[in-house]
Symmetry: none
Subunit: 207 residues, 4 copies
DNA sequence: AATGAATGAGAATTCATTCAT
DNA sequence: AATGAATGAATTCTCATTCAT
């Protein structure tokens, strides 16, 4: 009797992974609909069809899901960002690729979120500074720093620049999502041109 | 003998206003120290010296204070923004004045918040889109539109531009607050140059 | 200068009486709509347009209004009942007059209550044994006792009989109010005949 | 070996039922002792030894327990009433059996209530018209209607008659409970004779 | 006498977490 | 590993009553 054994693919393990994912997905929806303050474990678990106790087989607390979720977002976007870096051969190329990728990512996520949200229910627009964001920030800043070292970009305040770029991308991205049709290319073009145009005008670092 | 009579200035009205302000101030402190998730009505009311029930004479819930607080900041900044507009005679002048004013405002508020915060505690990074904030956005966008009409600026997507500028200002401003000494002039210079440099490169509107 | 001075009719006194009545009326409405458990002083005072503190110039507590209200009902019905007694020259005459009067009273009150009640809002049907009811009970029982002493009625258990008559009147009265048109005469006829027919069949007291 | 298997009889289900009953029983006691106005969820739950939150696993609010309680009484009496109907072979037989059964039921319940009540405390005189009570009313009225169809009783207003009988039974029953010794047979005799004697005198329906 | 904001005890209710099944 | 009822500390919120104006 032959038996194929894949890594972590017993029935048990499959269920475990599926449950973990089910909880994460439900949590994302709930956080989106209710905001982080009012979301409860029960709200989340109710959507999964699992029992409340089961939640604790996968996460130690609500906060842990929240962090896992943030990491989840990071885990999905950061490789993309990394790929942009590796695939590009110029500073502008990187910036354009990264912003375009981010806007596409937003549009995708947006649709995923929308699907389960009762129409008209718009929770107040809130943002939390997650670990995910922090790491994305660092990655972007480091990309800038490296570009500067290789003289691919003028030596400016990379910290401010990264903050400015990310903030801009987020906010322009939000506006983009409100328009129909959603045009990520046009939004990316806008953002890239604003940044690339502005950089040469920035004050140079004395060092 | 002349006597100045203010509108609604009986002793009762004064107390009411003072109490409302006391609650708002206490709430600002508590939110800063504890974060929004763990702040409770009791935490807030305890600081005011008022009775717990009194809270509900002024706000229907914690969320309502929170919104009022966010609105309050925007409401206090709007007149400043307006003054910048009226005092400036060029597009760049307006932009510079507005951003400088905003950074100064942030620095001031920041100190006010800091005063009671145990060191090392980062204030929570959360944002609500309140009506008053919406109006700030509109004011900025309209300033851009008017500049464009008078050929003081190229005709670009004012909505995206306003969003980008505000986002950038917020985020660069946050970074600025983390540095010592706090240098609002340098931060403003950075932001203004990035924006003013970038605008000419933006895609023009076909109209 | 002539000045007519009526008993208790200065402007002050008129207002006082009017306020007291306003509170009682509002209370009757509120008790009817909300039931006694959930009715609050604020509910009552809100309808009067008076300030909450004013309530305490007229009543020491919610319970006091409630009792006053019960007494109010008694104060209005008991004279009628008494008049029935005095006007009647036979036992049956008294019973018929009393029941007819009670049904008329119910119909009147009913309309008064209805006018202010939001349609469809039917609080669960509840009854409280008020002092009013107790006194009415005693009056009815005493009328029976007196009739028995004068051999106008057979000697039966007056306590049970009074209870039975009042209960029947209440319940048949309720049913009557649900029918259209409201026919107090028919209902009274029914009740009187049932009682008068039943009395001769009752077990006689051995005394 | 035969084994009786009850529906839903895991240990869990048993506990749930036991808890529900424990809460209802405690509620009955508390309502009796404190009256409905002052009874609180905590008063009830304290007696059960359960945790306060557990209350809400079974009932959404105090009112819901109250209704459940009222309904419960009617629900337990209905089968008895039904049995009276089936066991009787005359109209009077049914009426007598039903009233006797009701008075016995009251006496039993009464003792159950009394057991924990401090002497002198009168149980609050309140009545709610619950769905189950409504059904009791309908059952009685239908019994009357059927008797009339079979010429076992004169054709009178069955709606009024049922209302009158139930009201009388309730009130005479209450008086009965106040006397010592409690004599259900005498009370039933009184009620039955009053009703049976009165019926022939009632106005006939024209139909 | 009227006002209505303040009071604060105490009631209702929620919810993360545990644990017996 | 899943279940889901029980737990009870913590929180929100209500409301009769007081009292300075």
């Amino acid at each position: 009797m032959s038996q194929v054994v894949l890594l972590s693919s017993g029935k048990r393990e499959q269920t475990k992974l599926a449950n973990r994912r089910a909880i994460l997905d439900a949590a994302r929806e709930v956080f989106a609909e209710l905001g982080h303050e009012s979301a409860t474990v029960r709200d989340i678990i109710r959507r999964t069809g699992l029992a409340s106790g089961t939640f604790y087989n996968y996460f130690r607390s609500l906060d842990e899901v929240f962090e896992a979720l943030a990491d989840d977002g990071a885990a999905r976007f950061r490789p993309i960002l990394r790929a942009c870096w590796e695939a590009s051969n110029s500073f502008e190329g990187y910036l354009r690729a990264a912003i375009q990728a981010y806007f596409d990512f937003m549009a995708d996520e947006h649709e995923a979120w929308q699907s389960h949200r009762p129409a008209g229910e718009k929770h107040p627009h809130m943002r939390v500074q997650t670990p995910e964001m922090e790491r994305v920030f660092e990655e972007v800043r480091d990309a800038f720093l490296q570009a500067m070292e290789h003289d691919a970009a003028p030596r400016v305040d990379a910290d401010y620049l990264a903050a400015a770029c990310i903030a801009m991308a987020r906010e322009v991205g939000d506006k983009m999502l409100e328009r129909r049709p959603i045009d990520t290319a046009a939004a990316a073009d806008f953002a890239v041109k604003l940044i690339m145009g502005g950089i040469p005008a920035l004050p140079r670092l004395s060092t």
